[in-house]
Amino acid sequence: MGSDPPLRGDQALLEVNDLTVEFPGIRALDSVRFDIRPAEVHALVGENGAGKSTLLKVLGGVHRPSSGEVRLAGDHYRPRRPADALAAGIAVIYQEFNLYPDLTVAENVFSGREPRNGISRGIRYAEINRRTSELFDGLGVRIDPTATVGDLTVSEQQLVEICKALSVDGRIIVMDEPTAALSADEVTQLLDVVRRLREEGRSVVYVSHRLDEVFALADRVTVLRDGRHIRTCGIADTDPDELVRHMVGRDVESVFHRDRVSGGEVVLELAGVGAGRRLRDISLTVRAGEVVGIGGIAGAGQPELSQLIFGALAIDSGTMSLNGEPFRPRDPGDAMARGIGFLHEDRKAAGNLPDLSIRHNLTISILDKVRDGLTRLIAPAKETDVYAGYHQRLNIRATGPDQLIGQLSGGNQQKVLLGRALAPGGKLLLLNEPTRGVDIGAKAEIHRLINVLTADGAAVLMVSSDLPELLGVSDRVYVMAGGEIVGHLTGDDRTEENVVACATTGRRIFSEELSKR
């Protein structure tokens, strides 16, 4: 494709016209149009199920359109398989990376295209390592080409994917929710990388739920809703409120609404709790009616802390008490019996029971409560009652109790898992990343639910890497770094600056100490 005629700045490099993609029983995309200009960052936004992933998969050669056309630099573009897309200079980086965890960074970058020696056909390791280094230098990041990919952090793996795209000189790089699992620092780094790509003249399609990133980065933005094109405009011609309206098709009430309740009895108290090298000297309290947030960069020990309280991680030192009584759960079953609900941050790997129906996913934590009084066997009618209750309360969108959980959208899966966490009916909820990978509508619903729960007297401990959520939903915030609590922010001290300062600079900020001064 080296002999393409030069393109004018406003001329589309890639054009999608009237694209329709149908699956049996579903029209995933309905006459969608979309275009990408040279050297631009084009953000693609929409709720889960809006059709973003389908559009990406058409560009990436995974799905084929039912009708409509895609033109790349004026020519018809009809990839039959992912390799065709790559050959045409379109690299799609999906949320689930296509990396071999046991191979090195350089082996991954050049996988299947390794330069080989003439006679022995051996891979020229020196060359691929050098070229990988050069590509990383170009991005302004440092990753060892000989490191094993499985040992890298999620954000480093993301950069390996980007590097892979550059190694084939991808002209269009498509990123699906690249920051979903990144910490604030890593997000900043990624945004810098994307800007560099644009400076080099490459085009980036950037799919994200996070509108702050979209406004920080994009030149233009396209909104999809229910498989249809809603709007494309320059980023300067719109604002977040308007985008949200387009995405959900209605006005969303102010994002974080909290009925502040004055703290009740202390529900959970930790004093000097430690677990190996992962958690050190953790002391905190959670009161009834309160949302206590746990922030910090990824890997600072936040999920471990909630797992320890839930009995999934052994305590080495310190004491815990629940409702004033000593508490030391043997295992999660023990913690659940004491009325603690838990939501894992990784919905796919440690949340969903993919072969089970929604109803069975909901009742798995309360099987004792759905038994028939006489026979002690599970009573399906009681399970259906449980489903009906949560279906209404959490506004789960599903065809019925027997639908498999994997067939729901991410937001509705999350609501089912929240229902499971609520089912033990306890007064303490441990919520890890309650709105990760969830669309804006569902996010607002989940926040509203947390509000209702705490108004009813539940205590919530919430781990969130989404700063606006952490600060907007929590009444108090603890910040963790290196397995320790390095900050406790209440009232007006709950600012993004303070959280970031504690999490990254080694400063310790405790509101109670500030107020004493």
Partner: protein
């Protein structure tokens, strides 16, 4: 289409459309093998005219029982995401011990010995897996040899046998008696399947077994203890072996270390053919039930046609491969994508 559905949000309609397709797939999961069995039965009069005679049918039912009974336990094992490769060794050992007990103490001793030996074998497996953390595949492969080895040791001076003078003892009757024209081993098997169905569908431990098979890590955060699931599953397999040994030994009247060589593969084949997913999370006892009979009827037809036993094995192997191919295709259809995509090899 009514006006009400017209105003529904498209995304909700989309979900409905997908689920109706999948429930068809689920229907195949449960009833596909049963349909094949019925089809085969309808064809048998043409192929093997003598097949439908009462005595022949009774023989098929009696012959199927011990594979079927253990297949109930194995369905739980596979649904939990594990195999028990040791059932052949367990059956040989249990059969030998049961005959020894009968010759020493009569019917009651024999029944008690069968159940106890089966349970103990299961406990050994569960212990290896939960205490020593050996993966189930390896643990049961090892115990298969150990159990068979012990059975050989116990029969060094010749196989244990059921002496002919006891032909009228209640013990020997287990294998020979018919009630209302139905052989007792078959009735036992039906009872075990019924109990298994209730256990899987209506009890907490059954539900937890499916949950664990579906996602062990998610199950952990639902308060499900992997130790308890493993213990339950492998002891249950041992129990079914104990029951099966009673129907087996009263049919063949003799046992030594080589009894039912390759038994584990017959049982696993029946469970897999029945539609229980190898990756765990799904178990269908109705499918297993039909698959057990599909295999025996097929065998019986082949035997009646004078097909050599080597060919019988080949046919069974082919049936298994075809069934799994269909299953693989179906799984790919269940996810959105075209027919062509489903047939294309995954890269």
């Amino acid at each position: 289409m009514s006006t009400q559905t017209m105003t529904e949000k498209p995304s909700e309609k989309a979900v409905t459309g997908r689920s109706s397709k999948v429930s068809l797939g689920r229907l195949w999961d449960t009833w596909g093998v049963t349909a094949l069995l019925v089809l085969l039965l309808l064809c048998t009069p043409a192929i093997a005219p003598g097949f439908l005679e009462i005595e022949n049918l009774q023989s098929v039912l009696r012959e199927s029982a011990y594979v079927g009974i253990v297949a109930v336990g194995m369905t739980f094992a596979i649904a939990s995401g594990a195999f028990d490769l040791s059932v052949g060794g367990q059956l040989a050992l249990t059969s030998v011990v049961t005959l020894m007990a009968f010759n020493g103490g009569g019917t009651a001793a024999a029944v008690a010995a069968a159940i106890t030996t089966g349970l103990l074998c299961g406990l050994v497996n569960a212990g290896l897996i939960t205490r020593l953390r050996v993966p189930p595949f390896v643990a049961t492969l090892g115990s298969l040899f150990v159990f068979r080895g012990i059975a050989y040791l116990l029969t060094q001076d010749g196989p244990q046998t059921l002496p002919y003078e006891h032909v009228d003892s209640p013990f020997a009757k287990i294998g020979s008696l018919n009630v209302a024209g139905l052989p007792v081993p078959f009735l036992i098997m039906v009872a075990v399947f019924a109990a298994g169905w209730v256990l899987m569908r209506r009890t907490a431990i059954g539900r937890r077994t499916l949950a664990y098979g579906s996602s062990p890590s998610a199950a952990r955060f639902c308060g499900i203890s992997d130790t308890r699931i493993r213990l339950f599953v492998f002891v249950l397999v041992g129990l079914t072996v104990g029951i099966a040994a009673l129907t087996y030994i009263t049919r063949v009247w003799t046992a030594d270390g080589s009894a039912q060589d390759g038994f584990e593969l017959k049982v696993i084949a029946a469970v897999v053919l029945g539609g229980t997913a190898l990756k765990g999370g799904k178990g269908t006892l109705i499918g297993t039930f039909s698959a057990v009979f599909l295999v025996s009827v097929l065998n019986e037809v082949l035997v009646s046609q004078g097909v050599e036993s080597a060919y019988q094995r080949i046919v069974l192997g082919c049936v298994l491969i075809v069934a799994l191919t269909i299953d693989g295709l179906r799984t790919r259809f269940a996810s959105p994508g075209s027919f062509r995509r489903a047939l294309r090899p995954t890269s």
